[in-house]
Amino acid sequence: MPTIVSVDDSTVPGEGSSRLLLLVSSDNKHIVVEEDIMSRSRFISKQVEGFEATSQRHAILLPFSSFVLNKVIEYCSHYRGYYLLEDDPDAAPPGRSPVREWDQEFLDVDRNMLLRIIKAAHYLEIKSLVGSCARAIADMIRGKTTEEMREILGVENDFTPEEEHSPSSKCTG
């Protein structure tokens, strides 16, 4: 659970449109970032709305490491000011997120990092990033056998022999 700590107003000075936010990662790194950049995150936007309602600004504690947080901030900085349909809370969700070349390069990281980024993006409610990460993970899984998938996903076969040979889905029975 994120906790909200009070910070000194001088730490986060309000400067009109480009106010600063203080984000605190799980490894206790303090990262100052412009509010504008993070507006893509629904989670942060809601926090900021809360600040405005109470006229009190806090540091925002996040449950993931600064390494991951910096990566997310890099993503948000890149798309600063861009309109992405998936991130529009009022727009109908698109059937499939579009392929963005920059994202593919950006997400060319190892599996663990990718999983951490998608969890962070999910926590921060950045739908476009969740979509891009999901696509990258899907590419990793695609074409693998069930056995290979278990290895990638790190799961154990927990079926009884009968279960394992039951129809593969209710529709195909």
Partner: protein, 516 residues
């Protein structure tokens, strides 16, 4: 292990799975119980699996159209209908006095002649478009009949439908001042009005009395000489959107009966009533559109070199596509399928019946690589009354999103009261056939020819990848179920069985449509 996928929230896992195809979803399904539950409970994933199992693809991913649950329900009903091969409930078509057969058939739509009171067929004022309500076609009962209000047709006008393009083309001939004026009308199937994209308000006027409207393909209309005696034919290919002649030329023919238009070729079937009298050949003419001098480039004639043809030299090329029952054995007939650009040929020979499918797109390839000229030959061990038909399943909905997929069925002795009511089904989806066999609704025909009907890259990946499987499925007892009032029947090119019933007590002839 802390960051392996199972520790991701379900919502994220679903996002990942939704990006995968059917095969990968099923592989994930087999990994562990959590994935299994997740996949089984997700409507979107079930829809994706079932769509693939049907060999279909969803046309448009538009969130504003049908919700995913409704799509899934439709797919399930559709699959169930194909598994059990349920016959659609009888649809009686009223006020069709003296109706012999539909005027034109395309996809899931067929065109009925107008309601004519009395026997005057010269001044026709409207036609009716019938969409066949059927689970097999995934068409609900509420889209049924649609009347195109006023089409000033003369009795000898020719009408063609292109349901995929929502197009109806008809031609009328008038004698004005001693001259024959031919008007070609291009109308929208939905509204009956002139098609918004058509040239000159949908009416093209020509002074060529000898040219008959033959076929259409995409933007092109084919006109050729309507002649039974042969001679010099001057086919004209016109673009109905621009009104321009795209290609024009001269082709020497012998005895022409039918012509089909492909995007690049004109295929004409020429020949006589009996092969003994006139050599029968398929003539393929390449279309070339030239800015200054439109021409038809080289034409090639291909004779049917099928041994069975030549042994017996008895081939009747039947011009009435839908009028199957007037083909007494031993004769053959041609069935063009406009939707799939396919010509099927059924021939009787030495007590066996052969069905040959010639995809128009790969016609040249087949002819050159198969000296026999056959794409696939399916031997029929007994004579049937009805030949091979193409069943085309599309569109799924009212055009806002579409599913496509084709199924080939061969009917054997289907309408013979004494015969075993069996249906030979050639299916592109091995999964479907396997399921049908598992449910006991089909048995694999031993010794039947199992092979790929279509080969070659032009035919599309689905058909290239999936081999066809021959199965036998019991059919309902047609004569018993429908009573003895069935006077005659036609199997239309879209798989609709068209029955003309004589209800003696009422002395009214009813036409009924069935989807097979």
């Amino acid at each position: 292990m802390a960051h392996s996928l199972p520790f991701l929230p379900n919502e994220i896992l679903l996002r990942i799975l939704e990006m995968l195809g059917c095969r990968d979803i099923l592989a994930c399904h087999a990994t562990c119980s959590r994935m299994r539950v997740l996949i089984t409970d997700s409507i979107a994933l079930q829809y994706s699996i079932e769509l693939s199992a049907c060999g279909m693809i969803d046309g448009r991913q538009d969130p504003h159209t049908l919700p995913i649950q409704e799509r899934l329900d439709r797919i399930r009903r559709y699959t169930a209908a194909w598994e059990t091969l349920l016959w659609t409930s009888r649809l009686a078509l009223p006020h069709l006095v003296g109706l012999e057969s539909p005027i034109s058939v395309s996809g899931d739509v067929f065109l009925l002649p107008p309601s004519v009171v009395g026997a005057i067929a010269d001044s026709v004022t409207g036609v009716q478009v019938q969409q066949i309500p059927s689970e097999l076609r995934a068409i609900k009962e509420d889209h049924q009949i649609h009347s195109i209000p006023v089409l000033a047709l003369t009795g000898n006008g020719k009408i063609r439908l292109d349901a995929a393009q929502e197009l109806i083309v008809f031609r009328e001939r008038n004698f004005i001042g001693g001259q024959t004026v031919t008007r070609t009308h291009v109308h929208s199937l939905l509204t009956g009005e002139a098609h918004p994209l058509a040239f000159a308000h949908g009416v093209m006027e020509t002074m060529d009395p000898g040219l008959a409207f033959e076929d259409m393909c995409g933007d092109l209309l084919l006109e050729a000489i309507a002649s039974d005696v042969g001679g010099i034919c001057t086919p004209i290919v016109r673009n109905w959107k621009t009104g321009l002649v795209e290609a024009k030329g001269t082709v020497m023919i012998k005895h022409r009966y039918m012509a089909f238009l492909d995007k690049q070729h004109i295929i004409s079937v020429t020949g006589g009533t009996y092969l003994a009298l006139y050599p029968t050949c398929l003539q393929v003419t390449s279309l070339v559109s030239v800015d200054t001098t439109p021409t038809l480039a080289e034409s090639r004639s291909y004779s049917f070199a099928l041994p069975e043809f030549l042994q017996h030299k008895l081939l009747h090329i039947h011009t009435q596509i839908s009028n199957l029952e007037h083909i007494p054995p031993p004769h053959g007939c041609f069935y063009p399928d406009p939707a799939d650009r396919l010509i099927s040929v059924a021939i009787n020979s030495s007590g066996k019946r052969f069905v040959i499918d010639i995809p128009v797109r790969t016609f040249k390839t087949y002819i050159s690589s198969h000296p026999g000229g056959a794409a696939a030959i399916i031997p029929w061990d007994a004579w049937g009354t009805h030949g091979a038909r193409m069943v085309h399943v599309s569109p799924f909905d009212t055009g806002r999103w579409t599913l496509s997929g084709s199924r080939r069925m061969t009917f054997r002795r289907a309408l013979e009261p004494d015969g075993p009511n069996m249906l030979t089904l050639l299916d592109y989806s091995p999964r479907r056939v396997a399921r049908a066999v598992a449910r006991g609704t089909a048995t694999v025909l031993h010794g039947a020819e199992v092979g790929t009907v279509y080969t070659g890259p032009e035919c599309g990946p689905l058909r290239t990848l999936l081999p066809c499987i021959v199965t036998e499925v019991p059919l309902p007892d047609i004569m018993g179920e429908w009573g003895e009032g069935v006077e005659s029947a036609w199997l239309c090119e879209n798989g609709v069985l068209f029955l003309k019933c004589d209800a003696v007590s009422h002395r009214i002839l009813d036409a009924c449509a069935y989807t097979i």
